[in-house]
Amino acid sequence: MEKHKIKKFINKLITEEHESFEKAASEDELDKSKRIGTNLEITLDLFKDFYTVPNNSDVIIRNIEIAGLNKQAAILYISSISDIKVIEEFIIQPLLFNKEETKDIEIILSSPKIQKYQIIEDILKQINNGNTALFVDEEPNAFIINTSNFQGRGVEKAENEVVVKGPKESFNEEAITNISLIRKKIRDEKLMVESTTISKRAKNELYLLYINDVANDDLLNNIRKKLNSLDVDSIQNLSVLEEYIEDHKKSIFPTILYTERPDRAAEFIEDGFIVLIMDNSPDALILPATFWSFFHNAEDHYLRFLYGNFIRFLRLLALFITLFIAAIYIAITNFHVEMIPADLLLAISSTREIVPFPALVEMLMLEIAFELIREGGLRVPKPIGPTIGIVGALILGQAAVQANLVSPLVVIIVALGGLSSFAIGDTNLNYAVRIMRFPFVISAGFFGLYGITALFTIVLFYMTSIKSFGVPYFAPMTPNDSTSKETIFRRLLNNEIYRPGYLKPKDIEKKAGE
């Protein structure tokens, strides 16, 4: 208690106050919540102030005189994110060439979507989204015409979650495209696309996708509450948002699934999960996520029953090999030598004879080198990538053995572990497993199999206690859930008739009607 007080006191002394800054921000807020006036001049001056025109070079204000009505008007748009052709064709031309004198503005304009706004803040938001605002003299409303046109790339092939069989398209950086990719797969009027603004200054929009009569309301409210409680100026994309809404931020295990495949996102939505989509993110966040959702892959269900389970088995094997092979090598050579058949033991010891380091140091050296090659290879500019790969793999490995720095067996083991790690498709789980290899190797160096097992048990205890938005990490394996048995192996599609019960979906059966 005493310590706490002293800490608080010292903190008070150290921290500087930022009162003046905060005030400025709040004054700005006040101004924005007003309505616009009927005087065009004043309104335009106001918006010029907000956008600091003419210094802000892509904010365009164009004055027009509406023919026929003989009224002064002005349009305001940001040229870099609006479609100039649309503005010209659907706004400027109809206004300039109008002949009738009594028509409403809305009737003159030929644009497909027109909205009226009075509050300055709303108008600013619309303009920032690429829409065009039309201000007319003696008119209390601003007309917002949909002209937004952000630049982006088209729908491309998925690069990180590659499948051989099944759809290949992946999300891109435009939320609208991503939503349409999902809508293409779920033609259901109950598919909700709920949008909320999650940051205070940059006004980033987030879209929640779920099926209204399937997704659990408590889960939805829980997520909404979390999103509404965010108090930050800017959240650029989903990768950043992930950390803001995670329950276990410092945990080594991920609790939110991140996918770039619309088919996978759609599959999860149909099961009652909730998917988050945002502009600037070529991916979707799926929550809640269990260990199994990281372990599974889109292709498991696309391949035939046996083949799908075969690759799942391979993945499980890869997971264990990546985690344990280096540690087990250390444990056996240092502590449990009697386990190896005599011939193999002699072979191992003859290769180890010339190496000057203890096995643990040797292993750690090569593991770290492998991680470096991997990280370096990822960041290297494309044209020289293959060269670096050859240098890394061939020359380093070969030369290290010839220089008696490492024994050939260790090279084999590190290479096998490294290769296996690529079979774990999910980026987050991949990192978790790769990092965990090191504690396992070190514990094996100290206590052999005893150390490995002790650490493994601790990890298991820890993993069972993780929850992702209230869902236990190993559900439905434990706590036991008889509805969905989608864990290590998949079942025949005919038998997968239930949605996962741990989500408490409103509709538990996947079959329609009876």
Partner: protein, 362 residues
């Protein structure tokens, strides 16, 4: 959304039961049986099983009648504040002491059979440390971990048993009755080393999904434990014969050294991890129960916080006996001799009190 807090299903409960009691067949419990009855040890187990039906049945009956209560609350309710305190205190003492003895034995196994050069103290600290971590997390996570590892552990056990059957000699099973029927009956009524632990499971009855789960789990576990114990005692007997098995303190570990798996002539390190996982879970459960009882005795609501000090206490007390192979073995036998009546009669007394108070009719 947090719909699973503190709730154990049948699977998890069953897994806890199997692992905590089942691991006993890997320590010195079986060799203690052989000492008196010779090759009739497996018959002793069947007799023990039959005798303990009564207390287990009565206990289950009482626990299922009180829907909302676990054994602690039932004891307090039936015996009142003071006698209830004394009874719970005895259970706590017995439980903690047996944890001390048990963990000393396990640390000794690890030290003498696998890690001869590592100091006992460090091995012991790791054993109890891991268990304390699990106990601190809570019973539902012990249960989940137990269930997740149960399949692997059982596969490993059955590989050992089946190879032992193939590599042992059936002649060693004779004489079937060992040292005679009298010895068998004497031993089976004075030894609750296997079935006594069923009492502790009543303490977590409220952490289960329902009392039905409790009933199902207990009886399934009861049958499974008996089968596994009988099979493994027969396997040990076939491998070592009843005379030399008395000399062996830890027959399971000798057995995995003795058997050969194809080209692997020394397979014991292959089975070591499985056995270790089971031991960690076992002591996690015992530590949890010890903390739970302590919390119930002294009205500490967040009893998870007692786990670390209790764990330290257990380590230091467990380190006291020198040469645990002999001393702890002997102490454990004495201890079992004294506590058996307690385990046999406590359920009977609880049931009778409930009956006389008219609580069972509801």
């Amino acid at each position: 959304m947090d719909n699973t807090k503190g709730i154990l299903g049948t699977r998890e409960f069953f897994a806890i039961l199997i692992i905590t009691i089942g691991t006993k067949l890997t320590d010195n419990t079986p060799s203690a049986l052989f000492e008196k009855v010779g090759s009739g040890a497996w018959i002793t187990i069947i007799l023990m099983c039959l005798i303990s039906i009564i207390p287990i049945y009565l206990l289950t009956k009482v626990i299922t009648v009180f829907e909302e209560k676990n054994l602690v609350e039932i004891i307090n309710h039936l015996f009142g504040k003071y006698i209830g305190f004394i009874v719970l205190f005895i259970i706590w003492l017995v439980e903690t002491y047996s944890t001390v003895l048990g963990s000393a034995v396990y640390a000794d196994i690890i030290e003498t059979l696998y890690f001869v050069q590592t100091p006992l103290f460090i091995l012991y600290i790791i054993l109890i440390g891991v268990a304390a971590y699990g106990a601190k997390k809570g019973i539902e996570f012990i249960g989940s971990t137990a269930w997740m590892t149960l399949i692997g552990l059982n596969i490993a056990l059955f590989v050992v048993l089946i190879t032992a059957f193939f590599q042992g000699r059936i002649n060693y099973l004779f004489p079937i009755l060992g040292n005679g029927m009298v010895e068998i009956i004497k031993e089976s009524t004075t030894n609750a080393s296997i079935y006594g632990d069923f009492l502790y499971l009543g303490l977590i009855a409220t952490a289960l999904r329902s009392k039905n789960v409790y009933k199902k789990g207990i009886w399934m576990g009861y049958i499974y434990i008996t089968i596994v114990f009988v099979l493994s005692v027969i396997a040990y007997n076939m491998l070592f014969d009843y005379i030399s098995i008395v000399q062996i303190n830890y027959p399971f570990h000798e057995a995995i050294r003795y058997i050969q798996l194809g080209f692997l002539t020394n397979a014991e390190s292959l089975f070591l991890p499985f056995w270790l996982i089971a031991s960690f879970i076992r002591f996690a459960f015992y530590l949890y129960i010890s903390a739970l009882l302590f919390g119930a005795l002294f009205k500490i609501k967040k009893f998870e916080y007692i786990v670390p000090p209790l764990a330290l206490l257990i380590v230091f007390v467990g380190l006291i006996p020198e040469a645990p192979v002999f001393s702890v073995f002997h102490m454990k036998e004495q201890f079992i001799f004294f506590t058996t009546p307690f385990f046999l009669f406590l359920p009977l007394i609880i049931w009778m009190t409930a009956k006389f108070k008219g609580e069972l009719k509801k």
